[in-house]
């Protein structure tokens, strides 16, 4: 094996990929959240649909979409590979084990939380991305594809709103551990900065996920 493949098949090398892609996906969450805040503007979706047109036609965004897909693929694949290795490192389990007394629940259940988020992602992509790309969609007053109407329709169903809110809670717990954990994996632990990183990670997780969860709740209760 070359030094490169040795590095990225080692335990730290794989973690490094998970950390870097994780932080990249965090940056995607910010962009996605800010863009989608236009759902709250009181213009029956004119601004949101114009934004949708921009996002589906700008060449830079189109290229970033492929990088984003790769980010998800590497994040999920490497985390899965590490989980398999970690589960295989202890074949005989403890009869009594009190990890609850020395670590947080979210830190121990990143795989479970990630799986919930992954399932949500598939449903979410099917419902909006695929409908937008391949489905028959009406046009709004400006002649743009009316994704706003699709959103309004989806979020009028209670079970759909529930799925979104539960998934955002899972994402919040995933981020609370993941955000600060990524910095630790990159070797960035220093008494000057680590307390700030932990605080920012906590606030980031809550604010971003609450922002996303507010969208289905807004449509369900106020539209």
């Amino acid at each position: 094996m070359s030094w490169f493949t040795k590095t990225f098949s080692s335990t730290i090398g794989r973690k490094l990929v998970v950390a870097l892609t994780g932080l990249f996906l965090c940056s995607f969450l910010v962009v996605h959240l800010i863009g989608n805040l236009q759902l709250f503007s009181a213009d029956e979706g004119i601004a949101f649909n114009a934004y949708t047109y921009f996002m589906t036609h700008n060449p830079v965004i189109r290229a970033m979409e492929i990088i984003l897909l790769l980010g998800f693929v590497f994040h999920i694949y490497e985390a899965y590979a590490l989980s398999r290795r970690n589960q295989g490192a202890r074949s005989v389990k403890y009869a009594v084990n009190h990890l609850d007394q020395n670590s947080s629940w979210s830190s121990r259940n990143m795989g479970l939380l990630g799986t919930v988020i992954f399932i949500f992602l598939l449903v979410h992509l099917y419902n909006f991305y695929f409908k937008l790309k391949f489905g028959e969609i009406g046009l709004d007053a400006q002649g743009n594809k009316n994704l706003y109407a699709i959103t309004e329709e989806a979020f009028s169903q209670w079970w759909y709103v529930a799925l979104y809110v539960i998934s955002m809670v899972a994402l919040a717990f995933h981020l609370i551990h993941g955000f600060q954990s990524a910095f630790q994996t990159l070797g960035l632990n220093h008494k000057k900065y680590t307390p700030a990183i932990k605080a920012v990670g906590y606030v980031f997780s809550i604010v971003v996920c609450a922002g996303f969860a507010a969208m289905p709740l807004y449509f369900f209760f106020f539209k």
Partner: protein, 260 residues
């Protein structure tokens, strides 16, 4: 003396102990009752009492690791009621006293569990995987010849303290036992940062971390997911900051070393 202490009433306990004849045999938890245990005994002395009983009854005593019995050597292990070295933090099993338990308690005692730590017998496990990681790079080059004067190389106090804190690792393996991934990263990180922080460790710095991590992975330990159980259970308080140091040592070494 014991009789004068109001808290020193003897206890009767139920123990569920992992019994396994050898590495390849399958094991199971076996229940034993121990009587008249003084709260002033250490956990290992309580095990000695049980073994005396077993010997008198003509049974095979329980194998468990121990040596100095004063918290220095790192030999004692035992996963007690779901915690490495028992419920106390910052102690080894020999420093755990029976006063932490109450009359009538049931105590489950299991060996360190990791595929990299095969069971010799009962509660005694083979921790030589940690030795092999150490041998892969946990050393420094020294010149032969005259003995150098003490403190000849200036080292800032804060760095010396940090290196010393890392050097307090007694290689007991509690970090591996407590980690949900059976990872030895806390151990490895203590060994790597101890030497990487000091001027004496610079010669082998990059090769050291590369070889030691390669050996860690080859032994079949899991990877770190930053849950922090290891540092919480470490009897000498090795900090998680060492794992961050290990990560950046590894990243820098892989990016810049001469080893292709």
């Amino acid at each position: 003396m014991a009789g004068n202490n109001p808290n020193s009433k003897p206890m009767n306990l139920t123990l569920k102990v992992w019994r396994q004849k050898n590495t390849n045999a399958s094991g199971q938890l076996v229940t034993y009752n121990v009587k008249d245990i003084s709260p002033e005994m250490s956990f290992l002395e309580m095990m000695d009492v049980l073994n005396e009983d077993l010997l008198r009854q003509g049974q095979d005593p329980i194998a468990f690791d121990h040596d100095c019995r004063e918290g220095i050597c790192g030999m004692c292990s035992l996963y007690i009621n779901g915690r490495a070295h028992g419920p106390e933090s910052g102690t080894t099993t020999c420093q755990l006293h029976m006063r932490k338990f109450s009359d009538g308690d049931t105590i489950v005692i299991e060996p360190w569990r990791a595929n990299a730590f095969p069971i010799h017998k009962d509660l005694s496990v083979d921790r030589s995987a940690l030795d092999r990681i150490q041998q892969a790079g946990g050393y420094v080059s020294v010149n032969t010849g005259g003995v150098p004067d003490a403190n000849e190389i200036p080292i800032p106090k804060s760095i010396a303290d940090k290196a010393f804190d890392a050097a307090t690792c007694i290689q007991c393996g509690a970090c591996v036992a407590a980690c949900k991934n059976a990872s030895a990263m806390l151990f490895l990180s203590a060994k790597v940062s101890q030497l990487a922080l000091l001027p004496q460790g610079q010669v082998e710095r990059k090769t050291r971390v590369e070889n030691m991590l390669a050996q860690h992975d080859e032994e079949g330990f899991g990877s770190c997911t930053n849950i922090g159980s290891c540092a919480a259970e470490c009897p000498v308080g090795i900090s998680l900051e060492n794992i961050a140091i290990l990560n950046r040592e590894y990243i820098v070494a892989k990016a810049t070393s001469e080893n292709v």
